[in-house]
């Protein structure tokens, strides 16, 4: 169980700046996720921790040890690969024992550890199988067992579930989390799947263009994004270009999007005119009563029934807005062309600076 400290790390590939001033402190036993779109630098960062790349600037510490110049094979990090990387010329047993043999452990100890690692991933009895006789999910379990068997200082996951089908992905996700918590081992997990990140992580770092955008627990990332990128990448959101207008009192300010007018939180927006207003579909309140702020009426364009919610696409004032109706009952699904009345509570509105994308809000609290 080891903490990871990354300070001022930069990595270039030729002209491309893949990582720029990365600073992270990952705590002992933490499940830490690097989340971002493909090409954002998250895998580069993971591979730099593993030692497959050498950063151009900055330091990486594992616990108290500065590992900048420690070769990959001496770092004792257990990596789980996207395409499993299970050795095809070895049996399941030999795969899991590989790192232990390298460490010259006595054969009894190897046997004990292989057995326990396979038990952890529910592959008892598969010792003699060869990888070509295993499904994708089983191969990834071998990959996980192999990485755990060496009792690494940290576990590194490089999109381990992206090659599995949807159902198995959910199953494996829960297992990885359970095993990690049971062993109490520090884990760094790379994914582009925001739902996966929200479910599995203690904390998430959202990465884009080689920079850390925001670090925080899943709830914080979702409910309190620091910029427009984080808000749009994690979860669904409506984003409208608005012009900020007069103060409405009670901490609210006018936001004008074409013919639509909103009252939005004014704190922190001083001096800003061009902005982006964003709110999540599930925050919208459907209402028939008059009164209340930000009441709007839109024409239904299409609906999607998703079981627990009905997702509706509305057209109003030339803009498209997504809203959600929860726990739909029979007859609750409206038809295209229907008028839908709804309200956007001001406290659910995020305001971002249109130019920088930064969130505009009160300096303290939320």
């Amino acid at each position: 169980m080891t903490s990871i400290k990354i300070t001022g790390v930069e990595k270039r590939f030729g002209e491309l700046l893949a990582l720029s001033d990365i600073n992270l402190a990952i705590e002992k036993g933490e499940f830490f996720t690097l989340l971002g779109p493909s090409g954002c630098g998250k895998t580069t960062l993971l591979r730099t921790i593993a030692g497959f790349y050498r950063q151009d600037k900055g330091d990486i510490w594992l616990g108290d040890e500065l590992i900048n110049d420690v070769p990959a094979y001496k770092r004792n990090t257990g990596m789980v690969f996207q395409n499993y990387a299970v050795f095809p010329h070895m049996t399941v047993y030999e795969n899991v024992a590989y790192g232990l043999k390298v460490r010259k452990l006595p054969s009894q100890e190897i046997e004990k550890r292989v057995k326990s690692a396979l038990k952890n991933v529910h592959l008892e009895g598969y010792e003699a199988r060869t990888p070509d006789k295993l499904s994708g999910g089983q191969q990834q379990r071998v990959g996980l067992a192999r990485a755990m068997a060496i009792e690494p200082r940290v576990l590194l996951f490089d999109e381990p579930l992206s090659n599995l089908d949807a159902k198995l992905r959910v199953e494996m996700r829960d297992e990885i989390r359970a095993v990690q918590k049971a062993l109490g081992i520090t884990a760094v997990y790379v994914t582009h799947d925001q739902e996966e990140a929200l479910v599995i992580s203690d904390r998430i770092a959202v990465v884009n263009f080689g920079k850390i955008q925001q670090v925080g627990p899943p709830w914080e990332i979702y409910k309190n994004p620091v910029n427009l990128f984080v808000a749009t990448f994690v979860g669904k959101i409506n984003a409208l270009d608005v012009v900020l207008g007069e103060d409405l009192g009670a901490g609210l300010r006018r936001a004008q999007a074409g013919g639509l007018s909103f009252a939005v939180p004014g704190a922190g927006t001083e001096g800003c005119v061009d902005a982006v207003l964003a709110f999540r579909p599930e925050e919208v309140v459907e209402t028939d009563e008059s009164g209340g702020a930000n009441r709007l009426s839109g024409t239904l364009v299409s609906t999607a029934f998703l079981g627990t919610v009905v997702s509706m696409e509305l057209e109003l004032g030339g803009k498209t807005i997504m809203i959600e109706r929860h726990r739909p009952k029979k007859g609750d699904i409206p038809a295209a062309g229907d008028k839908i009345e709804f309200a956007v509570p001001p406290e659910s509105c995020f305001i971002f600076d249109k130019r920088t994308g930064a969130r505009l809000r009160a300096k303290e609290g939320r």
Partner: protein
């Protein structure tokens, strides 16, 4: 993997050795060839005389024309034989199609001169088939010259077309043709607008290989060409003839030959770079079962093509067991020809085995290491080395032989007449194939496997040994066996480099045919054929490698 260590690792050394090999054994001799062609024979001054003479005299231009004609005709007839065979064996159920493939590969891999020599025994001046046919009143044109070369070459090289085309036909997803039919195209329309365009790149690729092989082939035109000179035999004659020997002119011819080969290689690279589709194979194509006359016709065509091409090999084997008395065949069967070989020239047989064995060890070792560097370490030096290592592709054996004699017959490297120069010839000629095949095996091995090894605590050297090498093993061994076969059968370069004590089997066959000792030649050829066949069998059986290995090699 990008482990930029500051220490000089083993791969730097390998890259350095690669450069050393290229410079000493390719650049240096080829530069000598180049120099010779621009030098005045008497004065040693710079001169264009050889080039003027080549383009000025009908004698030389005719050989150039002959070469082009032979290569084109061979390509054409190889397609005539190869296309139907590929199509029938992949799309229709042909009984014994595995056997047909095996036999055509055997024809392809057999020493180039055997076919030519066999056709002489059948259709030569006193050939049994000619005599047989003339006894029933059919008289054939003489086999020596263009006709014989084209016949022997086409029957040897058509498997390049049939195997490559079959490979491509088998990997067209069935749904593509189904989609065409579903959109309303009838079978013929589908064939010409969907199937053909998809397989065209591999057909072009195969055709260019045939063109190239035929262009640089030395054994066949030497044995059956008579006075019909092509560029390789012209270069050989210019270099070796006792009267009017002219290394300068031979060098000029060599350069022209290399230029032609280079053009073909460029075209081939272009053709194969367009081979991007046909990779998403979900549903294998349907193999139709034919009935009645159609089935009979398809079988007839396939068996005729393959039978025709294996006939010369069968004839050779048959003749090797006939009684002989000197150059004359006599009735009855015996092992006399074999006895003669083992009593008279055991050293020749031993030489062939020893030289190719040593060469193959070198080829496999150096080829694998260089292949690894090329596939996994793309630094500037490697990017420069990669194309240089491919030079032997465009250097016909005859040209390499001439280069080696000129370069290694004087200080600082004196090698002529040694076994080393023979081994080096085999080594250099096969090296690019070995490097290519090692690199392409490596490209199929996910680099993540090596990273996994390293991540689990195994240093790079140990990871290469415990992860990479075991995964490459069967590819390396089957590649080495193919190298061994081609080295055993090498004639065009070694015939220029041998001396009495370094004689090899192909050279002995060539000399025996020239002297009319057909019995010895047949027995020797049969041994080479058997070696080729056994090697193919081993590769097929123990390494589960299909016919692709044989074309790639």
């Amino acid at each position: 993997m990008n482990l930029r260590g500051k220490r000089a690792d083993i791969w730097h050394l390998v890259t350095f050795i690669g450069f050393a090999i290229v410079i000493v054994f390719l650049v240096y001799p080829l530069f000598d060839v180049f120099q010779y062609s621009f030098k005045n024979k008497e004065t040693g001054e710079l001169s264009m005389a050889n080039w003027k003479e080549f383009f000025g005299r009908a004698y030389y231009m005719r050989a150039f024309g002959h070469s082009m004609f032979i290569a084109l005709a061979t390509t054409f007839f190889s397609m005539v034989l190869g296309i139907p065979l590929a199509f029938f064996t992949t799309r229709y159920k042909i009984k014994g199609s595995n056997l047909l493939t095996t036999l055509s590969v055997l024809a392809l891999l057999s020493p180039t001169f055997i076919g030519a020599y066999s056709w002489i025994t059948m259709l030569g001046r006193n050939g049994f088939l000619r005599n047989l046919l003339s006894s029933i009143g059919i008289s054939l044109p003489p086999i020596y010259g263009a006709l014989g070369i084209i016949l022997a070459d086409s029957l040897q090289y058509y498997p390049f077309i049939s195997l490559m085309l079959a490979g491509s036909l088998m990997t067209i997803d069935r749904s593509l043709e189904e989609a065409s039919e579903n959109l309303g195209a009838r079978a013929t329309k589908t064939f010409f607008s969907v199937t053909m365009p998809l397989v065209l790149p591999s057909l072009t690729g195969g055709a260019l290989i045939v063109f190239m092989m035929s262009l640089s082939n030395f054994g066949t035109p030497m044995i059956i060409g008579g006075n019909y000179l092509v560029l390789p035999t012209l270069a050989y004659n210019m270099f070796t003839s006792e009267v009017g020997e002219s290394p300068g002119m031979a060098s000029t011819v060599s350069i022209i030959l290399m230029l032609c080969a280079a053009v073909v290689i460029v075209l081939q690279t272009w053709a194969s770079s367009r081979r991007k589709y046909a990779s998403m194979l979900v549903n294998r194509p349907v193999v139709k079962k034919l009935k009645g006359a159609k089935a009979f016709f398809a079988h007839l065509v396939c068996y005729f093509i393959v039978g025709f091409s294996t006939l010369p090999l069968g004839v050779i084997v048959f003749y090797s067991f006939r009684n002989t008395s000197g150059p004359v065949f006599k009735p009855g069967f015996s092992l006399d020809s074999y006895k003669q070989i083992f009593f008279d020239v055991p050293k020749t047989v031993a030489n062939s085995f020893i030289y190719s064995f040593v060469a193959v060890i070198l080829i496999a070792l150096v080829g694998t290491l260089l292949g690894f560097v090329i596939a996994r370490k793309r630094n500037m030096a490697v990017k420069l080395l990669d194309p240089l290592l491919m030079i032997p592709y465009i250097v016909p054996g005859t040209v390499l032989g001439i280069g080696f004699i000129v370069a290694f017959n004087r200080k600082p490297i004196f090698l002529t007449g040694t076994a080393i120069i023979m081994i080096l010839t085999y080594f250099i000629r096969r090296l690019p194939y070995s490097v290519r095949s090692a690199a392409s095996i490596l490209k199929q091995i996910d680099p993540a496997l090596e990273e996994a090894g390293i991540n689990l605590g195994s240093p790079p050297g140990r990871t290469f040994r415990t992860v990479t090498l075991p995964l490459m093993q069967s590819g390396i061994i089957s590649g080495a066996i193919m190298s061994w076969v081609t080295s055993m059968n090498e004639l065009s370069a070694s015939v220029l480099l041998y001396v009495g004590r370094t004689m090899t089997m192909p050279i002995k066959v060539y000399l025996s045919v020239a002297d009319g000792y057909f019995g010895t030649a047949s027995a020797m050829s049969t041994i080479l054929l058997a070696v080729t066949g056994i090697a193919m069998f081993v590769v097929n059986k123990y390494f589960n490698r299909g016919s692709e290995t044989f074309i790639a090699s």
